[in-house]
């Protein structure tokens, strides 16, 4: 286990890729550093579902986890490893801001790096996007990559 850990939020977008690139630069500078790449599948335990959706939920969850690994996380981990980084992949369901902070706490990380996602909908304008909420509530420093 390295002395320093950086948590990076990856979501398959370009902003996420830039965040990972930034984290790699940081890690190089630090030397003994683990990059925890975290992919969050947006989900709330307080959403409303039909009985049929409930029946298939467990199956869908596994599918979502597999997809997150095969499409986004695993390729990123592989590349980072081949570049000589110490990496760790995490996929969780939940609210991205909550999960990233929780993972940072759990891993004893010194910072979180995320890509900035532009305010898309009305909801995000009013309540703030993931990055905004994360910056406001995180327990460790947050770097937001434009």
């Amino acid at each position: 286990m390295s002395k320093t850990t950086i948590v990076v939020g990856l979501d398959g977008s370009e902003a996420g890729a830039r965040a990972l690139a930034f984290a790699k630069d940081q890690a190089k500078g630090i030397g003994d550093c683990t990059i925890a790449i975290c992919y969050v599948i947006e989900w709330s335990p307080f959403s409303f579902q039909t009985a049929e959706e409930n029946e298939e939920r467990h199956k869908r969850r596994n599918e979502e986890l597999n997809l997150a690994h095969s499409r986004v996380l695993d390729p990123a981990i592989e590349t980072a490893k081949s570049e000589g980084f110490d990496v760790l992949g995490i996929v969780r369901h939940g609210d991205a801001a909550d999960i990233l902070d929780a993972v940072a706490k759990q891993q004893g990380a010194s910072q979180i790096v995320v890509g900035r996602v532009g305010a898309r909908g009305l909801k995000e304008r009013v309540f703030g996007g993931v990055t905004g909420r994360l910056a406001a509530s995180a327990s460790v420093p947050v770097t937001i990559i434009p």
Partner: protein, 516 residues
């Protein structure tokens, strides 16, 4: 888009024969009615038969006695575990590693969307219209007792559910009947399960479908004026078809989001009306308590109030019917008791909160005609129900009562009724499907056959005034309770063992809250 078109075309194709048949609708309806009445009348009469020498239907007693027995047997679980139920729904005991699985909140709201509906709006108006405000007292009591029935069936539903190899999870009374009876070394589980499944299909097509379509159409015509139910039926069937056959999940998920909102809006509107008439709330509760024991001159006196209250509570919250055991079974939990505890909230929200709101608004609004001299209610000419200011009953009575507070509310109520009817149909299509696949096996083709039958019955339900068919389907839902409760009596020791073990571990600190 293409998928939607295909679904729409298929639905139209499905409805073509019905359109043609509508040419001779009168005779067709009449014929169906006659055939149904003569072949099923005995069954309806059997289910709704009065106890000898009384006008008290035995089925109501059956439900109330069962709920009382479960209440005592599980040591007033509805009071003891109420706080724990809220804690579970909040997710205090959910393992963060299970995020993404079905939460207690989701299982509860899914079940609620199947039960909150016409029963809360129309059923209560019928109860109060016939039995007077006193019926509310018995309705609340039945709701509180019914919580114990739900606890029993939902615990068993989760304990004996199926976790299939493909990752899907489902269950229901059919499975606790077969597996539970086998575990206890009792015979007859399979027979009960088959009978239950047959009644469930009947209930799904009837009370969960035709009745809903019929009432939704009636509500629409009250606003738009009279038009053919065939149109409503075809539209409803097409939308349901798009969801359950076409797999257009977005429609269902929109409904699932709008229905809770409607429920909250309904309760808020009721609260506002109650606050506006705050000075009368004491009087209304006085009416409810006095009416519960004296009847205040309503049809059938105090027994009339009691029967109506109990009957409508059972219709509304379905406690003991077994449908909830299907709805709750997919939850992610290691302890079946937790879902039983969560399900306690279902009759509470449905009956004790929402139904009581409706009843209070009707009582306070003054839509029931009272004799100022005696303080008793005035009966209608036939002497079968309380006279109302505009002669309305059922949904229209609730509508009139709410209109006394907000003149525009009938429009909101109409939308609510349509959405409630739709979500109840989606829920029951699932319950029916589970029973169907239990009988005929799982597979794409067998499932499709049931779904097509289900959509067809929506058109029939909306288009025709099939009194006998609807009586039969109500009887089917209660018949489910006869079979289900019989099984619950045999299986309740298993629930007790689970319950004792679970609460012992909560007390000892073996099961603790997760910090989030």
């Amino acid at each position: 888009m293409k998928r939607f078109l295909t679904a729409g075309l298929a639905a139209t194709a499905l409805s073509l024969p019905t359109l043609a048949a509508a040419q001779e609708a009168v005779s067709f309806d009449q014929r169906v009615n006659d055939v149904f009445a003569s072949s099923t009348g005995w069954f309806v009469n059997l289910i709704f038969m009065n106890l000898p020498g009384t006008n008290f239907p035995w089925i109501v007693l059956w439900l109330v006695v069962a709920a009382s027995i479960f209440t005592i047997y599980f040591g007033f679980i509805q009071i003891k575990a109420f706080g724990h139920a809220i804690s579970l729904v909040k997710g205090d005991y959910s393992d963060p590693n299970d995020a993404g699985e079905v939460s207690h909140f989701q299982a509860l709201t899914t079940a609620l969307s199947g039960t909150v509906g016409l029963g809360n709006i129309a059923g209560v108006a019928v109860a109060v219209g016939i039995g007077g405000p006193g019926a509310t007292f018995w309705m609340i009591l039945a709701g509180l007792l019914g919580m114990a029935s739900k606890f029993t069936e939902c615990t068993l539903g989760v304990k004996y559910r199926n976790e299939y190899a493909d990752g899907t999870v489902s269950g229901g009374p059919m499975y606790y009947m077969t597996k539970g009876f086998k575990e206890r070394g009792l015979p007859g589980g399979k027979v009960l399960a088959v009978i239950f499944a047959i009644f469930t299909i009947g209930g799904a097509l009837g009370g969960g479908n035709m009745f809903q379509a019929n009432q939704a159409h009636e509500q629409i015509t009250q606003i738009t004026g009279d038009f053919s139910g065939l149109i409503t039926g075809v539209i409803f069937a097409a939308v349901v078809f798009a969801v359950i056959v076409g797999g257009i999940k977005s429609i269902a998920s929109v409904t699932e989001k709008v229905v809770p909102f409607m429920g909250i809006l309904y309760v808020l509107a009721a609260l506002v009306i109650l606050i506006m008439n705050a000075d009368q709330i004491g009087w209304a509760f006085g009416q409810i308590f006095a009416g519960a024991f004296t009847g205040l001159g309503v049809a059938g006196g105090f027994v009339g109030a009691l029967i109506q209250g109990f009957k409508r509570a059972a219709f509304s919250n379905e406690a003991g019917v077994g449908s909830a055991a299907i709805a709750h079974s997919a939850v992610k939990t290691k302890e079946p008791v937790t879902e039983g505890v969560v399900s306690l909230l279902e009759p509470f929200i449905d009956t004790v909160v929402i139904c009581t709101m409706t009843a209070l608004v009707i009582t306070i609004s003054g839509v029931l005609v009272m004799d100022p001299a005696t303080g008793n209610f005035v009966l209608n000419e036939a002497g079968t129900a309380i006279q109302t200011i505009d002669g309305s009953s059922g949904v229209s009575l609730t509508s009139a009562a709410f209109a006394s507070g907000f003149s525009w509310f009938p429009y909101v109520l109409a939308v609510a009724v349509i959405l409630f009817a739709f979500s109840t149909m989606i829920s029951w299509s699932y319950y029916g499907l589970k029973a169907w696949t239990y009988l005929f096996g799982e597979g794409k083709t067998t499932e499709l056959i049931f779904k097509l039958i289900f959509c067809f019955f929506i058109i029939v339900g909306a288009a025709a005034q099939l009194g006998a068919v609807i009586d039969f389907s109500d009887a089917m839902i209660f018949a489910m309770a006869v079979v289900n409760i019989t099984a619950l009596y045999f299986l309740m020791p298993i629930v007790k063992r689970e319950m004792n073990s679970y609460f012992k571990r909560i007390k000892s600190g073996e099961i603790v809250k997760h910090s989030h």
